[in-house]
Symmetry: C2
Subunit: 417 residues, 2 copies
Amino acid sequence: MGGVTQTRTTRLERGRSALGPALELVHTGRAPTRAVLTNQLGVTRATAGAVAAELQALGLITVDPRPGGAGGAQGRPSHRLAVDPEGPVVLAAQVHADGFRAALVGLGGRIVATAPGCQDVPADPGHVLAAVVEAGAGLLRASGRRCLGAGLAVPSAVAEPEGTALNPLHVAWPAGAPVRDIFRERVREAGILRHPEGGDEAPPGAAVLAGNDINLAALAEHRHGAGRGSRDLLCVATGHRGVGGALVLDGRLHTGSSGLALEVGHVAVNPEGRPCHCGNRGCLDVETDPLAFVTAAGREPGPEVSLLQQSRDLLRTEYADPAVRDAAHLLVDRLGLGLAGLVNILNPDRIVLGGLHQELLDADPERLRAAVAERSLWGRSGSVPILPSTLGHNSLVGAAELAWQPVLDDPLAALGG
Amino acid sequence: MGGVTQTRTTRLERGRSALGPALELVHTGRAPTRAVLTNQLGVTRATAGAVAAELQALGLITVDPRPGGAGGAQGRPSHRLAVDPEGPVVLAAQVHADGFRAALVGLGGRIVATAPGCQDVPADPGHVLAAVVEAGAGLLRASGRRCLGAGLAVPSAVAEPEGTALNPLHVAWPAGAPVRDIFRERVREAGILRHPEGGDEAPPGAAVLAGNDINLAALAEHRHGAGRGSRDLLCVATGHRGVGGALVLDGRLHTGSSGLALEVGHVAVNPEGRPCHCGNRGCLDVETDPLAFVTAAGREPGPEVSLLQQSRDLLRTEYADPAVRDAAHLLVDRLGLGLAGLVNILNPDRIVLGGLHQELLDADPERLRAAVAERSLWGRSGSVPILPSTLGHNSLVGAAELAWQPVLDDPLAALGG
DNA sequence: CTGGCTTTGTACCGGCGATGAATAAAACAC
DNA sequence: GTGTTTTATTCATCGCCGGTACAAAGCCAG
């Protein structure tokens, strides 16, 4: 009678102390020393030092007392903080039109090991994901690393919170396949997340998640690539067919209320354009993808899985051909119109382009920037930096980011068990 | 010698304890009792009780021991938590095509006093803002309340962080007028923020800010109106001319990297439409505003400042006229197309419409919902709730929210001085 | 080479807010 | 009335963080 302690509160589990933010700063390379960590966190040196010591004790970062490079500094040299290259990893997996890929990725976005596994993708997601996870398990056995989570990138919008692939592109999966749960089940079966020493089950905080490949590429570019430091990053990219987009706000992926945001393919850019399966005509999706480019250049389109490569080759080796150049100009203008519309709606502080769009930007940066500036309402928008993506395998690194997130949010909970 | 204390850290000033979140919960009506406050904050009852006591001591909320209404409850009845109706206020000001308005607004979005001040808006923003502030100062003298900040709503995009009005609509201001600084200067001159007892200067934390009227209306709808509880709220509304939009993410206004986001007026909805000043044709801006409606209904448009009222009258009293109904259908379909495009990009969990769009929704809710569902890619998006706004003077309330924000973030700092 | 100067890393204490348990209070059910 | 349930309040305690002092490690001037 009396003390019923407390009705269970819906605890927010806000990450204990500044451990998480500190790890994120080191993870993204924004805190090379304890001193800047102190400034970035807004805490005292004492606290920053304690936090760094704890992260080191957890085996996540290293502290190198060697004076760090920039010799011109006054005062006592800083010790170098870095991600521990021998630390734990996560499993990153990607399924795309050409096959699949698995990798182990450490903190800092460093790819530790990869297994290509290029094969045709069968119609049953269960088989592919089993194969991917098996490849990852092999990598893990070979490396002896501890694995803290797993992330999967798929060429489809992923509905949240269900984790289902709504419109798998060019992999013959059924729409609505529960890829997240299938992936999770395969990972559980493989026992990847089991703590190596203790024979325990998977740690409770470990994440096994799935996301759209372009969303994840954007996340990777934000953390480790051309989007570093952006607070409001828009990414637009093509695969072989279609156009995808992603938005990273304040360091977090903006997936909308149900994971379906940034379906940017259906912004209208050409009133007389080709009909699109969405019902309109002249959508970004059908006007600026590799098929549109190859066609506009008057070439015979090859097989679908090679359209991106064919477009690349055209741009890089036959740009002197007027037909190719005109086609590039046409696509650049239409892409510029689409991006301008997105700028008017989202007002990003940076735009990063991937796939064919990246190639088009490289081919004629000024034309694209001018097109965006001209069609976006504000003169200021003309100064939105438009950059090519800088990471290879960025979807893979992004899938790893997904799996790292719980660790970055609360390292103690994710490791301590 | 020796201890140099600490190099000045860029302190994050994260709000002391859970005081701010607690006040926000009471402010938005989501915490009617200490018990739900406990749950919402995820703290213990002890903490929630202490926090409530402190807010009461600060004169911001009241605690009413009277058992609160819902008689069916088990156990000891809760005390009612409410915003203190005698508490401090902020000055809210709005300038629009028809004139200006000033009001005192308390916590909870309650308008305490208003001064209409309907007159023509002179071309010099300094004069209007002086008049608005003078009206507000009169209200303050009459009420004897303490004023904690001031917010201004203007019919223009406001660039951040400059606080300049980039495209004032239908008030003859120069583009780029520094309205925020002018407003701030007038408020300072009027001595509104001076603490009544102490003859001190304005408290350092007090906010004097300006924002776009539709953005602020969206903020008000989110906190106190049809957008309550939404995590991803899209608002679209018309004035007399043109279309504006706003997005509220996780309770914060998303203004983009430089305050220019959600310029939704230039989404294309009619390839053969009227030319728009943006260079395209058939933009939402010129296809779904009151002028477009009056014209489509075959009526002679009246003076610009009465177009919205003229449209309202047509819809409400002459909807039986086939010309009016057809015009409404046409605009609904185009609005639906535009909203569908925004849904594909933003994936909101709710849409709130204002101005003429609200009237169009009221006139034929099912047609608009169907149009959005049909044109947005995902079946799920068809279930996006589309609601009319529920607040009168919502821009004014939103301007007040702007001024309340520092108090909600850290009540102690904002009041204690 | 020696003694300031500057910046970085560490030890210690104290404050403050939150937790957790126990107790009191106020209704409803029987 | 008595027991049950839910809510409010008091109190001891814990842990994170801030502030201070001090030690360490390189430049620079003489």
